[in-house]
Amino acid sequence: MKQFLLFFGVALIVSLAACSKHSTTPDNSSGAFKFTSLATKDTVIKINDLTTISATASGEGLTYTWTADFGTFIGSGSTVQWTVCHADKFTINCTVKDKNNNSDTKNVTIRSHE
């Protein structure tokens, strides 16, 4: 019995430990990084239609990370397309990070209708 209680304990600890938290510490010493703008081609779309969202930024080794409270992205990098299957107001976020871990986030709001 002890062995199995130990087994359960280890299994629980390992699985909970996997619930990790990520964090980044920006290096603000670099002045070259700048996230200029985030723009969407359409602020209102019909559901299931695609719209294009573009991020403009400067710096070295830029990475673009896209998130949204809902919807589907197509593509990656500085320009993506986005669609959603129901009518509502949605926020699309873009985080740009350079090779020195400088980062900035902007968002746009898109409303979809039937």
């Binding site: 019995m1 199995f4 209680l5 359960f8 299994a11 629980l12 699985s15 909970l16 996997a18 619930c19 990790s20 938290k21 990520h22 964090s23 980044t24 559901i47 299931n48 695609l50 990475t63 673009y64 990370t65 896209w66 998130t67 949204a68 409270d69 809902f70 919807g71 589907t72 992205f73 197509i74 593509g75 990656s76 990098g77 993506v80 669609t83 299957c85 129901h86 009518a87 509502d88 926020t91 976020n93 985080t95 986030t105 968002n107 039937e114």
Partner: protein, 343 residues
């Protein structure tokens, strides 16, 4: 309950299979998703002391139909959606009344095919939420084949960040995890009728999901919360021939709307096209292999569906399970795992 013996062991496992396989599709049924199967641990009674239970299952679900309220709906974004899911549950009887379980699940795929050919196939995969459950036998009368068990537990995600591909977040509908914690409570009742080799079970369960914290790595404006689920089901099992059992489950699932919370103000709003009320009938066959391993197949058929808004609805779902109980004690437990056969 009946005397111990080989028959008891596999029949106890058969009992488990009922619940492994007939689990509801819990969690994130939304406008473009058909939901996620929960783990395989919730719907059992207590194990005997020193009993160890291993249960695995595989489930496939396919959807190609939309509903709005209780009717078919047009203007649909998806051609179809499907998922393949594997689950594992480990259970152990700490005392004759207290059982602990841990369950894990993994989506091999969670896929959406769009009607719009400009949108490529979307696929997510990975670990679903896991759970830990404690169950206590409130009323266990083996001789009368009656059991009343209460359980409580929590569910946790393996990661609190959404799944990304090329730094792009996958659609919430195909995320393998809710990325949020949850708690649940359940009540289980079982009664056997030895003279007609039948058994009747009931399960009442409530799952509460907390808001996620998806800005741990990436700043977002909102937290998201999957709706809470109330599940009520009744099972009837009947021995057909030796080692072979037929079971039918009648199950109702009610899910509240998902919520979105604006971080800045704390304002909470309902998410449209989330929430449902579904009534299933699920026939099942279970067979014991050499009295040790138990294999079971089940088919989930929705009979009545009522969705809030416009949502993808499951067309069908089936599952196969393999289960075994191990008595790790030096002697037979006083309280055997519940039986499906009533001989």
């Amino acid at each position: 309950m009946s005397p111990s013996g080989p028959m008891n062991k596999f029949s106890g496992a058969l009992f488990l299979i009922f619940f492994c396989l007939l689990l509801p599709d819990i969690a994130d049924s939304q406008c473009c998703s058909t939901g996620s199967p929960s783990g395989a641990s919730e719907y059992m009674g207590v194990l005997g002391k020193n009993y160890f239970r291993l249960a695995t299952f595989y489930r496939h679900s396919f959807s190609d139909t939309y509903y709005e309220s209780d009717s078919y709906a047009d203007n649909n974004p998806l051609k179809s959606a499907n998922y393949n899911f594997g689950g594992l549950t480990l259970g152990y009887g700490i005392t004759r009344r207290l059982t602990v379980e841990i369950d894990f699940g993994y989506f091999m795929n969670k896929t959406q095919l769009y009607l719009n050919t400009k949108i490529p196939k979307q696929t997510g995969f990975g670990f679903s939420n896991s759970g830990v459950t404690l169950k206590y036998g409130l009323f266990v009368k083996p001789a009368k084949q009656i059991e009343l068990t209460a359980g409580a537990g929590f569910r946790y995600p393996f990661t609190r960040d959404p799944q990304m591909v090329d730094n792009v977040q996958l659609n919430r509908d195909i995320q393998p995890s809710t990325n949020a914690f949850g708690i649940n409570g359940m009540l289980f009742f079982s009664i056997g009728f030895a003279s007609v080799t039948m058994r009747v079970f009931s399960i009442n369960r409530y799952d509460y999901n907390f808001f996620d914290k998806t800005d741990l790595s990436y700043p977002t404006l909102y937290d998201y919360k999957y709706g809470n689920i109330l599940l009520n089901s009744v099972f009837v099992s009947k021995k057909i021939v030796k080692y072979l059992f037929a079971i039918v489950q009648f199950r109702n699932e009610y899910k509240t709307n998902d919520n979105k919370r604006l971080k800045e103000t704390g304002e909470v709003s309902n998410q449209v096209n989330t929430g449902y009320d579904i009534f299933y009938v699920s026939p099942q066959l279970s067979y014991s292999i050499v009295g040790k391993w138990n294999v079971s197949v089940v088919f989930d058929q929705p009979l009545y569906k009522n969705y809030k808004g416009h949502q993808l609805t499951p067309a069908y779902s089936y599952a196969i399970s393999l289960t075994r109980d191990f008595n790790l004690g030096h002697k037979a437990p006083k309280v055997e795992p519940a039986r499906v056969d009533s001989n």
